[in-house]
């Protein structure tokens, strides 16, 4: 986006003129034309270095209308008083600060090593007598985090946490010291908001959206990130090795140092973790322009797609979560072995040796002992098992250590598609249908992210987040256009239960929509949520049962609202070339305007490549004493 605007000569010329004027007014007072700094600044003036894309990105400038503004919300990031809005003044002030005498860690050369490196490359500052500053802390830090390789890490979406709903991205840096070069021993460079622990979920969501929390970069051992994502949150992780060379990684680290304690307002959808990872990569490899396409929303999987698209990454390494590993391993056991795993993990008092002796050979015994340990640890981490199993865990390991050493499992199977190979997250749909005897055309725009019928490749089955989904409808009979629905948020999480894992399935949905009242169709606000169980029936079939509560408010309702509770049962079918959902929902509205509603619905969607899909819906409603049907077919475009 920045790039496009820069290529407009008219606007740029105006901006430049304004900057030159402002600049010329300021410079004679602060730098003598004879000084080395003055000479350089004069040179910069003519070369318009401050308009260089690399410089703009180093200071995180963005074009807002006709003028620049840095995304940084911290005065410490600027050397000029108006540095946030003036690339030229900031550049001149930065140069002046570099030439200032002094010798401590607060010197500009120590605080802005990436700027120094870039300017030195362009202007050969040493030839002008740049003072040599000893940046002790910087040197020490660079020794500690000397990196030779960088990896883009993408922990997959996590519906149970608002801040990680769409996933998260961070960088893993591999130290130069070969002893620390294994993934677990390397370290994570992470950008995240510093939230206020006392805020409740609503305040949290609101502040997250409007930039109410400061965001910061931090560095942690990568194994801590594994504990968090893989062990605690059961999120599979995709690791994309980046083909950055040593110079690029050095510049990335220099810039990381510059922004380490700098506050950026954290915006959940735009200036978020993924956006700032991209901004680091943009600095590391000039000309990447990765952030340009993410001014309105930065969905982590979309940002990964952008990195792959420009060729900075290609194949990802799949790191299955602890839960995924346990599930894959359990699938290799027979019913008896599974039963022994269960007994050993959950009933420490059961006859240990007797259980083990029922198994046929050492490989079976090893597998059962390891799984019992893993599952017991899982239960402890999820707080579903009291921490009284230390003795049993230890006994499991002792028994395992008495069997032959070595791996007893086949390699973990990885999903057929990497996350970035899935559909894009913005969806535009055009459809035609008939409701309650009325023909209509429909147009729907959903900025993010995925629903259960969207093409499944690269996404996890049974999860859905529709955000700000807007649907307009044009009635062909009375030739009226109206807002049919604006979904603020629509989350569905169907996690199948089995003998070992007992997750809750749930939904939440809030928005404005057309609704049927006793006085006819009206526009109102609705909120509904549900909670229940789902089960897998074979590989291609998921059934669900959810208790549901729903409130609708509209002036057309008697007492302006209706509140009810009911049940929703259904089945998700994953066919080879399509996905379908059959559901039956009954709700008794007992408060406000009373009513009983029953809805039966069948939906099916056929992906056409990764960019398009065709879907249709057939539904039968019994509502407010009326029966009517609804059919619609539509084409979806993902972009």
């Amino acid at each position: 986006m920045i790039r496009d605007k820069l290529s407009l000569p008219g606007g740029t010329r105006l901006v430049l003129l304004g900057m030159l004027l402002a600049f010329n007014g300021a410079s004679p007072a602060t730098a003598s034309p004879l000084s080395p700094v003055g000479t350089i600044i004069a040179q910069v003036n003519t070369s318009r270095l401050a308009q260089n894309d690399d410089w703009l990105r180093l200071v995180h400038f963005q074009l807002k209308g006709n003028s620049y503004q840095s995304q940084t919300d911290d005065p410490n990031f600027f050397n000029a008083p108006d540095g946030k809005t003036s690339p030229a003044n900031e550049l001149a002030a930065t140069l002046r600060a570099f030439f200032r005498p002094g010798d401590d860690d607060n010197h500009a050369q120590c605080r802005f090593p990436a700027r120094l490196h870039w300017l030195n490359q362009r202007l050969n500052l040493h030839a002008f007598g740049l003072p040599a500053i000893h940046c002790r802390k910087l040197v020490q830090w660079r020794k500690a985090v000397s990196a030779t390789r960088a990896t883009l890490v993408f922990p997959a979406a996590y519906l149970n946490s608002p801040s990680s709903m769409f996933g998260h991205t961070l960088l893993r840096l591999t130290p130069a010291d070969s002893r620390k070069s294994t993934p677990l021993a390397s370290y994570a460079l992470n950008y995240a908001a510093n939230v206020d622990e006392t805020d409740n979920a609503l305040v949290y969501s609101f502040k997250g959206l409007v930039g109410g929390y400061p965001g910061f970069f931090s560095i942690l051992p990568y194994y801590e990130k594994i504990k968090q994502y893989s062990d605690l949150e059961s999120r599979d992780i995709w690791e994309y090795p980046l083909n950055l060379n040593q110079q690029e990684i050095n510049q990335l680290l220099r810039h990381a140092w510059e922004v380490k304690a700098i506050k950026f307002d954290y915006y959940y959808f735009t200036e978020n973790c993924s956006y700032h990872v991209l901004s680091l990569l943009d600095v590391a490899r000039p000309g990447s322009h990765l952030t340009d396409d993410f001014s309105f929303k930065a969905i982590p999987s979309d940002t990964v797609r952008a990195v792959v698209k420009i060729g900075m990454a290609k194949n990802a390494i799949y790191r299955a979560s602890s839960t995924s590993v346990i599930k894959q391993h359990l699938a290799l056991l027979n019913a008896h072995e599974k039963d022994v795993v269960w007994q050993l993990a959950t009933k420490p008092s059961s006859a240990f040796d007797q259980q083990i002796n029922t198994l046929r050979n050492n490989k079976e015994r090893s597998r059962v002992l390891e799984l019992a340990y893993d599952y017991s640890r899982y239960l402890a981490l999820q707080h579903t098992q009291a921490d009284t199993h230390a003795a049993q865990n230890y006994r499991l390991l002792i028994a395992r250590s008495q069997l032959p050493a070595g791996n007893v499992w086949p390699a973990i199977r990885r999903p057929a598609h990497q996350p970035e190979q899935g559909h894009r997250t913005t969806r535009l749909s055009a459809g035609f249908g008939r409701r309650d005897g009325e023909n209509f055309l429909s147009l729907q725009l959903r900025p993010a992210y995925h629903d259960i019928l969207d093409p499944l490749n690269g996404y996890s089955a049974g999860s859905q987040i529709n955000f700000l989904d807007l649907r307009a409808r044009y009635d062909l009979g009375n030739k009226k256009l109206h807002l049919d629905r604006l979904t603020i948020i629509d989350i569905l999480s169907l996690s199948p239960r089995d003998a070992f894992f007992k997750p809750i399935s749930w939904t939440i949905n809030a928005g404005i929509e057309r609704m049927l009242t006793n006085r006819g169709w009206a526009t109102g606000v609705q909120l509904n949520g549900s909670s229940g169980f789902s089960y897998r029936m074979g590989q291609q079939h998921l059934i669900y049962m959810l208790l549901k509560g729903k409130i609708m408010a509209a002036t057309a309702f008697k007492n302006h609202y209706t509140l009810g509770a009911g049940l929703s049962v259904g089945s998700l079918l994953f066919f080879e070339h399509s996905t379908a959902d059959l559901s039956l929902t009954g709700i008794r509205f007992g408060l406000g305007e009373t009513n009983t509603s029953l809805v039966a619905r069948w939906r099916q969607s056929f992906p056409i490549g990764t960019r398009y899909a065709f879907r249709y819906r057939v539904a039968y409603h019994h509502e407010r004493g009326r029966n009517f049907s609804e059919v619609e077919s539509m084409v979806n475009w993902y972009f």
Binding site: Q140, W141, K143, A144, V145, S161, S163, S164, H168, P175, D177, S178, R179, K180, S181, T182, P183, L184, A185, Y187, A192, A193, N194, V195, F216, F217, S218, I219, L220, P221, Y222, Y223, E224, K225, K227, Q228, L232, E233, K260, A261, C273, S366, E370, Y373, D374, A380, L381, D387, H389, A390, N393, Y394, R395, L397, I398, S401, A405, G406, N407, V408
Partner: protein
């Protein structure tokens, strides 16, 4: 070498109070007891709901791979890894395989041709290294060191 490390860690643990307040648990070389994850876990669970961002942000390598500061010998990193990954290291030794053992061997500077021997030795000597179900990491490290000292090949990696 490990013994020296333990001494260094003990000294550093006293001198690095300022570093201790990070969200990765016990801080620099403070040690950890196996299967005692529950109380230490609470902040992690909280952190998990917010992308791990609660509490203090750390940018220096106050824990983990660099040990307590940049100029520490590498084995501090190995000690640190054991401190923070006791349950995984125990599992790795009991099975004689896995990523945690590869990482530990590498952190201890064990060459690739000796690392298989390291895994087999720690597997065979599991009960000597992890002597009980509430063992502290400092003891694990001391026991590991003793076991390695008695091995003709691996002795050179021990202190």
């Amino acid at each position: 070498m490990i013994k020296r490390t333990i001494l260094a860690v003990t000294l550093l643990a006293g001198s690095s109070v300022a570093f201790a307040a990070n969200d990765s648990g016990s801080g620099c070389g403070a040690g950890a007891m196996i299967f005692k994850g529950q109380s230490g876990l609470a902040p992690h669970v909280l952190a998990a709901t917010t992308n791990g961002t609660l509490g203090n942000q750390t940018f220096g390598m106050t824990s983990g791979t660099s040990g307590c500061n940049a100029s520490q010998p590498i084995s501090v990193a190995a000690v640190d890894f054991i401190d923070h990954n006791m349950e995984k290291v125990a599992r790795g030794m009991a099975t004689g395989s896995g990523e945690s053992m590869d990482t530990l061997a590498n952190l201890m500077g064990i060459s690739s041709q000796d690392s298989e021997r390291f895994k087999v030795l720690t597997h065979d000597q599991f009960a000597t290294i992890f002597t009980r179900d509430n063992i502290h990491s400092n003891e694990v490290i001391a026991n590991l060191n003793n076991v390695m000292k008695q091995d003709v090949i691996l002795a050179k990696y021990a202190g």
